[in-house]
Assembly symmetry: C2
Homo-oligomer: 585 residues x 2
Amino acid sequence: MNHLEVWAPYADTVAARIKDRTHPLKASTGGWWHLSEPVAANEDYAFIINDGKPLPDPRSAQLPYGVHGPSRQVDHSAFTWHDGGWRAPPLSSAIIYELHVGTFSKEGTFDGVIRHLDYLCDLGITHVELMPVNTFSGNRGWGYDGVGLYAPQETYGGPDGLKRLVDTCHGKGLSVILDVVYNHLGPEGNYLNHFGPYFTDHYSSPWGEAVNLDGSGSFEVRRFFVENALMWLRDYHIDGLRIDAVHTLVDMSAIHFLEELAEAVKRLEAETGRHLVVIAESDLNNPRVVTPVAAGGYGMDAQWSDDFHHALHALLTGEKAGYYSDFGKIEDLARALTRVFVYDGRYSSYRHRNHGRPVEGLPGTCFLGYIQTHDQVGNRAKGDRISQLVQPEKLKIGAAIVLFSPFVPMLFQGEEWGAATPFCYFSGHEDKDLGEAVRKGRLGEFAGFGWDPAEIPDPQALETYTQSILDWDERENEPHRSLLDWYRRLIALRKKSIDLKDGRMNRITVTHDENNQWLVISRGTLLLACNLNDKKQMIPIPAKKQATSVLLSTNNVEIVKDAVILPPFTAAIMLMRQSEESNDH
Amino acid sequence: MNHLEVWAPYADTVAARIKDRTHPLKASTGGWWHLSEPVAANEDYAFIINDGKPLPDPRSAQLPYGVHGPSRQVDHSAFTWHDGGWRAPPLSSAIIYELHVGTFSKEGTFDGVIRHLDYLCDLGITHVELMPVNTFSGNRGWGYDGVGLYAPQETYGGPDGLKRLVDTCHGKGLSVILDVVYNHLGPEGNYLNHFGPYFTDHYSSPWGEAVNLDGSGSFEVRRFFVENALMWLRDYHIDGLRIDAVHTLVDMSAIHFLEELAEAVKRLEAETGRHLVVIAESDLNNPRVVTPVAAGGYGMDAQWSDDFHHALHALLTGEKAGYYSDFGKIEDLARALTRVFVYDGRYSSYRHRNHGRPVEGLPGTCFLGYIQTHDQVGNRAKGDRISQLVQPEKLKIGAAIVLFSPFVPMLFQGEEWGAATPFCYFSGHEDKDLGEAVRKGRLGEFAGFGWDPAEIPDPQALETYTQSILDWDERENEPHRSLLDWYRRLIALRKKSIDLKDGRMNRITVTHDENNQWLVISRGTLLLACNLNDKKQMIPIPAKKQATSVLLSTNNVEIVKDAVILPPFTAAIMLMRQSEESNDH
């Protein structure tokens, strides 16, 4: 039993429609309206602004009938949690696994995810990162076009389903990070404009109206998003948030929205004693995003780091199109590994401008490192994974570099066995015209790059979705099985090595040879040598070090004095000691 | 003799039109085009892009025929400077005087300003701040609609006139600050879009297309503005810049445009050994603007601080319209004096949002304090100064508060004698349709606030301009004369008092009484007591202090034990010592 309330500062009247009756709300201060009679938690209701049509509550806790239907409140006290003693481990020791609830399991639900949690534990994962689960139009989609920001998608299992998933994760020692989208709302079922100034025309966003973070009324708009973040952490026991595309949050306020969000999460952390994190997806190459608030930053705990991805992807695939045109050399990868941003103020040919600024004094664990994500796979014309683009031996080198990097490693579902299933861009908009526009937009986008439209999966087609569902059986077969084994061993090594969890950037050194295509990464007592050449090579060990034994390798390697001999396309992790010459002082 | 060059990255061809001949430019790297033959400094030239019509050079050094005509180069070495030993004093000891070249003197020229420099010296001014002098359309205007950013307005006296003014200022010990506008270009004569991506539709600006500071090609756009700033400082010996409306510079880059600008100016400072400053006009209430780059700020030396103005104006006038609705209490003024921003994160009713953040660890001398500026006067319907709104005794109190404040004081031309001339909004656009649109826009703006359009001066009318020209003779008469004398004495006191130049905010204390309308400001050994009430009052001196003598006052005041007795509407500055009670330990 809760009292309904809604912010509608420009409304003349607001009413709640419950069953067949209309209950007028009372105007309160600050543009808020209240219904004095309590409404039962299982009761459907909708709001009517100025005698218009019934609309879902902007803060619907549940949308049992989808984005257009009425809202339902949720009694969060009704769920029995079993995670009383749960404490999330720090990000610095995390192995993150990004997954999409709709395609991770055959069921495409929260319960479907639960079925595979033991597998993730066995793989060595510590944090599950869920792509957005708030309500979006239709019964399939990536989730970035969500509109019911407070309501878990009903077709995934709704509020209780999400709670069961988080509770079970915690029971198995897994933390849960949730992807949330605060930079725009989806094109279907977005009724926020009927309620208040949630959007602004001062700025533009690539995906819809820009959110109003600094204009008139932005106080409540920011609160709408901040309270959403707190709700997931508090009511769903989520351990951290991934904030989508912060580079499209235009906010000229003296206190940036991200800072306000970070501070609110830190307050909740202090109140609860839980360990909570906020991770930004940022294309800004701006260390301010992850700089503490006290040092003038926005206070995010970490951010995605695409430069490392792009450098690694371009090196392994040789691709040169689009943003990969700025990358491709081993030197780029070496820069990413030692300085985080390859573009740290330098001119980017792809962007036709200078980009980024140097990272100074921040640990590598403020950045996530990955060889693929939903975006880098799904935004390709056919949703092909890197395992479709490069041979298995190179994939293994890539995996070794990710898991040996100073960054927090993140895998994308199925990456660890080189899943043969694609991860396509798919949607299930109910609005026919919108569906057609999305289809045409997608085909047109790639037709511009010379693709035959017939080759591009239709985003609205059901089979584009179904073919993106993981095939769990294939991982028993080669070459999937041996790749999976390699990931398992890399993860196990990372988890037990203090050197690999030490994010201090001044502890990592990289040597490389562009012509001969090799790369050596040193981290404390460990060394990763990679031969990206198609011929066997002797690769020098950095001065004053001496390899003593091979811990992991994709091939037989031979340790010689001051060097290691690697077969073509081979990665090897070795234990090091100071060489004798350096000990004689 | 110089070589022409221009950035036109999308052009197929670029040619220079010189006399009746067309000379093709050669494409170079990065979208630049060069003419190999040198062009004489006194030669007119225009650029032709893709066989279009002749256009002025975006970097015209001189526009002898106005915004639409051809460009001319300037041989800066031809001018003989006499300011070899010149060193500008630091901002912390500055008394700034904002003036508009077109209305400061009868002549409305740089030479006209020169005629009055001795007066400014005598008044005690240290820094002259010129409203924008770059080329704008027509022969009169405020200058914020400039389009020839590199060329001093010809009707003011062109490049040589500006140099004469700066040289003479330096000879008389006056520094020169120049107002520059980088957030938009004026509506008439703006041909930049023909040359390159100077503007963006990702953001909007209140006054024209938003400048492209972070999109494709922004590298050169930022350079265009940064090199403009350096040109004024280098070629015109300007001592500092005032950057117009930085709150409308939307820049998501990791290195903010202002930071890039500040760093470039600091480099020039280091190279030349001169003292150069950059001052921002900022409505953001964000201390980041004036925080050093090393501490995560944008590195501006100072910024305008409207909160202090608004608090003082609203208190003295009792006005409650528009942004003054957020102010009006003595407490607001006390907050401004002790914390700089009255809105430091609090909710602003006028803005319908939270505004600002606290200033921490920055001296008051990072902020300019003023009772009026061109904006606060000229943006009123009839351009009326505060001297038209309040009685002379209150004006004197206002002046005392400005010159006793921890901020760098700034006067607006004629303020010091309570000029009876207004400072109206005026323009002289040559384009008839534009002129009509500006006229209608202005009248419509105020009609919306209940003004009779017949009462609003027509911005395009010549007389709106001429009536805004200062009447220098009136200052000999009362009440102008005694106000001028008061300013002179306040300025003299400020200049000789170490306490008043000490910008440390923890050295200022303010006590006040809202009901009885008095305010006491303590700074070191000095104390300013203000009685804003229409009755005589005994005003307590802060504990442990004892007034010993009156240094300046607008009326006869009486010092008694622990207090001072002030007649109605009186300000008095007193010398203090620690009282006996506090000495007995």
